[in-house]
């Protein structure tokens, strides 16, 4: 695709230096594209192949269009059409671009979170995750070079799997191993981001026309799927073109269009089961299930969430167990369970994906999904900080019902907490936006705890409530219920209403991994089953510092079962997606 854009010359395996050469490359690329549709050069030796290709392309495009026009076939028809077209034009520069071996989902996750300054920077949220160094369309509509790099990444992954050197299987953390490619000129990749540079030791692609790989249709489909994932603007435009049907597709729709690989679950990857996710700042995430407490309880029948824009997966997924998921830019949320990154044996259930679709709804984590202010653990309250002065913090606390001892503890902990969230918490307190919330001082008193995990839990409650205010709710409608004294009864945040059945009660848990969900999902139900939440709409909120792909199918079933028996709904905020159980349940009041 880089060649089609006239930037990269697959013939010379180099980037063009001038406009003339660019035009030439562009022209050649167009010819290659047409040749992909009708391979006239094969007429002499393989006429059957040439005409067969022409016929197949025409028929499949026609079939795709026809399917698209139907209700049931639309899901398949759109990608079929698009993939066939992309297959044709994918021949332009296919695999000839500079090789950038993709990394796996974990790396992608890091890209997502690490690059977005809003994610872990100042507590602001970036609704559109972006990878470092990626381009996409700029605000003025120009195609940025890094887009091409993304596409080359996808296509190069494809070639890595297809070319002579075997594509290395990659675990979540694994760097691609050097498979000792045959000697050839090293391609020059301009403006490579640090993350993509880590893939330099991947197998090098062939140079020269005669060595071009001949990707199969399914591989091209995969490449297209990667491109769609890697370029949100492209996806958005496609949504407009097809009325949003593509958005309803499995983000790994290539597999559903033409399943290319079989899987035995997450155990195929070389490092399955030993994966250690990494936070955006590079810290390893161990499944030690530390939790920070926050609360809630449920009630009336589920209703569609106003803010939901669920990406419902409608096709059965054939996951790639061999680590062929390419790296780089972010991927949209996928249903949990079997997947290239999931080594949980519980997740091995080829038929489970469709069941998950029935049990939960999945959407992007964005401002529309609530709880958009993510944990910022980049630092604590600094006595030398000119913006957040300790005397000002104390003045803010003076306005609340706190003892001197409590205020001393809070200020000390804001400076010393090992969670590194002291500054973010201070900023929220200093904003004063929650001062009018009932029992706000009870929440703040928790920050004086000597336990850092407790601090983290209180911080999650605070961020959750702060987000509600930023979304337009009055702080007067928010309550942090004091403890009732009844064992197990524990509601963290309440959104009040004139009628109890319209009141929302929340229990909030900040956990490091899926294990935290497993460990505390019933605790959440118990905490929401006391008198404080009786008769209200009860919601268990989990903020999981891990990819949604890590959640086993079995856990989704357990959440669903427990929700059905208890009436408590669950909303799980992962680093890269949001899951709601039962599907499309109303999580916030209108």
């Amino acid at each position: 695709m880089g060649a089609w854009a006239g930037v990269y010359n697959p013939q010379t395996d180099d980037w063009v230096g001038g406009f003339r050469e660019g035009v030439e490359v562009y022209t050649n690329a167009r010819l290659d594209a047409v040749h992909g549709f009708f391979p006239w050069t094969e007429l002499e030796e393989r006429p059957g192949y040439a005409f067969g290709t022409l016929g197949t392309n025409a028929a499949l495009i026609g079939a795709g269009v026809a399917l698209t026009a139907t209700g049931a076939g639309a899901v398949v028809g759109v990608p079929l059409t698009v993939s066939r077209v992309m297959r044709i034009f994918g021949g332009v520069g296919d695999g000839s671009g500079p090789h950038l071996s993709g990394d796996d989902g974990a790396e992608s996750g890091r890209d997502r979170n690490g690059s977005g300054s809003g994610v872990h920077g100042n507590g602001a949220h970036s609704s559109s995750p972006s990878a470092p160094g990626e381009g996409a369309f700029s605000s003025d509509g120009e195609w940025a070079p890094s887009d091409i790099e993304d596409m080359n990444t996808a296509l190069s992954d494809l070639e890595a799997a297809h070319g002579p050197p075997p594509a290395p299987e990659r675990g979540p953390d694994a760097r691609p191993e050097n498979p000792a490619p045959e000697p050839r000129p090293e391609p020059v990749v301009p403006d490579r981001s640090p993350d993509t540079a880590t893939t330099d030791d991947a197998p090098q692609q062939h140079t020269g026309q005669e060595q071009k790989p001949d990707p199969t249709a399914q591989e091209i489909d995969q490449a297209f799927a990667e491109m769609a994932r890697d370029n949100e603007d492209l996806a958005d435009r496609m949504d407009r073109q097809d009325g949003g049907r593509m958005a309803d597709l499995d983000p790994d729709a290539a597999w559903t269009i033409n399943p290319a690989q079989t899987t035995t679950g997450g155990g195929d990857g070389p490092e399955d089961g030993s994966r250690i996710p990494v936070t955006p700042d590079g810290a390893e995430l161990r499944a030690d299930d530390e939790v920070t407490d926050n609360t809630d309880n449920g009630g009336p029948a589920p209703q569609p969430d106003r803010d939901e824009n669920p990406v419902t997966i409608r096709e059965t997924e054939e996951p790639d167990a061999g680590g062929s998921s390419s790296g780089g830019p972010p991927e949209p949320p996928r249903p949990p369970g079997p997947g290239p990154d999931n080594g949980d044996p519980e997740s091995i259930d080829p038929d489970g994906t469709s069941e998950i679709q029935e049990l939960s709804s999945i959407s992007e984590r964005s401002s529309g999904s609530g709880f958009s202010i993510r944990r910022d653990d980049s630092g604590n309250l600094d006595p030398n900080d000119p913006e957040l002065r300790i005397e000002d913090v104390r003045s803010s606390l003076d306005e609340l019902d706190l003892s001197e001892s409590q205020k001393d503890k809070i200020i000390r902990k804001l400076q010393e907490t090992l969670t590194g969230e002291g500054r973010q918490v201070t900023q929220i307190i200093q904003s004063g936006k929650l001062n009018a919330a009932d029992s706000f001082s009870d929440l703040l008193a928790k920050f004086g705890s000597s336990k850092d995990h407790k601090f983290r839990g209180a911080a999650a409650e605070l961020r959750f409530a702060y987000d509600l205010v930023l979304e337009g709710r009055s702080a007067r409608d928010i309550e942090f219920p004091p403890n009732s004294g009844v064992p197990g009864d524990d509601v963290d945040v309440v959104i009040k209403s004139e009628t109890r059945e319209n009141q929302f009660s929340y229990q909030i848990k900040d956990v490091e991994s899926k294990n935290g969900v497993r460990k505390f999902y019933n605790t959440v139900v118990d905490q929401l089953s006391g008198p404080t939440a009786d008769g209200t709409r009860r919601v268990g909120i989990f903020e999981v510092n891990q990819s949604i792909n890590e959640l086993p199918e079995a856990m989704v079933r357990r959440l669903s079962d427990r929700s059905m028996s208890s009436g408590v709904a669950f909303r799980l905020y992962f680093t890269d997606g949001v899951m709601t159980v039962p599907p499309d349940t109303q999580i916030y009041p209108e």
Binding site: V291, T292, D293, N297, G298, G299, A301, S403, S405, Q406, K409, A445, K446, G448, S449, S450, K451, H453, K454, G457, N483, G485, P487, G488, D490, K519, F520, N522, T523, V525, D526, L528, S529, G530, D534, G535, R538, R558, D561, R562, M564, S565, S566, G567, V568
Partner: protein, 219 residues
């Protein structure tokens, strides 16, 4: 030490789960009852709780608690047969909710703690224990709200004698529950007052000069 301070909320808790298949229309009441009586037996053996009453919280599928609770006197305590317990619980179902299920069973009864001089003291509610259940699983919870299980009292003063007299009893109960019910005990969340570990409460690093965290501002 003769006075027993209580926190206004759970100080520490431990949980476990028994995955099971439904025993029919009762939503695993039979399994829950058996687990409750097993817990009661262990707690009684170590003097932490002598079962005298059971509080039943009534739930409806898909709704959760309906606001009705039954308090059942357990004259035979932990010696009650599981079948009899199921019968008593079923008999106490709210008449207006024939489809209600016993969603939670709370064990109530006095327990005994040992002070720094080795004297036993009776406390009406020394330890909390309850089971939640639905048709798919039974979950158990044990929780405490006093400082006798911690090395430091609520004010941060060390009280090693009290700790040594009581914490091992709690650890024994947790271990026996694990073996007798064939479950894995998991510590609950840290609280303002304590950080639970698998079989007890974590002894934190001292705040200063051998003192622990002073949590009296939230008592």
């Amino acid at each position: 030490m003769t006075r027993l301070l209580s926190s206004p909320e759970t100080t520490a808790a431990w949980n476990w789960e028994i995955e099971t298949e439904s025993d029919g229309e009762n939503g695993n009441l039979g399994r829950g009852a058996r687990a409750a009586l097993s817990m009661a037996e262990i707690l009684k053996k170590h003097g932490l709780l002598d079962l005298s009453q059971m509080m039943v919280s009534w739930h409806r599928a898909g709704v959760g608690p309906i606001g009705f609770r039954s308090l059942i006197s357990m004259h035979e305590g932990a010696s009650t047969s599981p079948d009899d317990l199921v019968q008593m619980i079923s008999a106490s179902r709210p008449a207006g909710y024939t489809d209600a299920l016993a969603g939670q069973l709370e064990l109530l009864g006095p327990g005994v703690w040992i002070n720094n001089e080795g004297h036993t003291k009776r406390e009406q509610k020394l330890i909390g224990a309850f089971l939640s259940m639905d048709e798919f699983a039974v979950w158990g919870t044990l929780w405490v709200m006093h400082d006798i299980w911690s090395y430091y009292d609520f004010s941060g003063q060390p009280h090693p004698e009290v700790y040594n007299n009581n914490a091992p009893r709690l650890a024994s109960v947790l271990k026996e529950i694990e073996t007798s019910l064939d479950v894995e005990i998991e510590e609950g969340e840290p609280t303002y007052f304590a950080t639970p570990e698998k079989y007890g409460i974590l002894t934190p690093t001292t705040e200063a000069e051998g003192l622990g965290f002073d949590a009296t501002d939230r008592l």
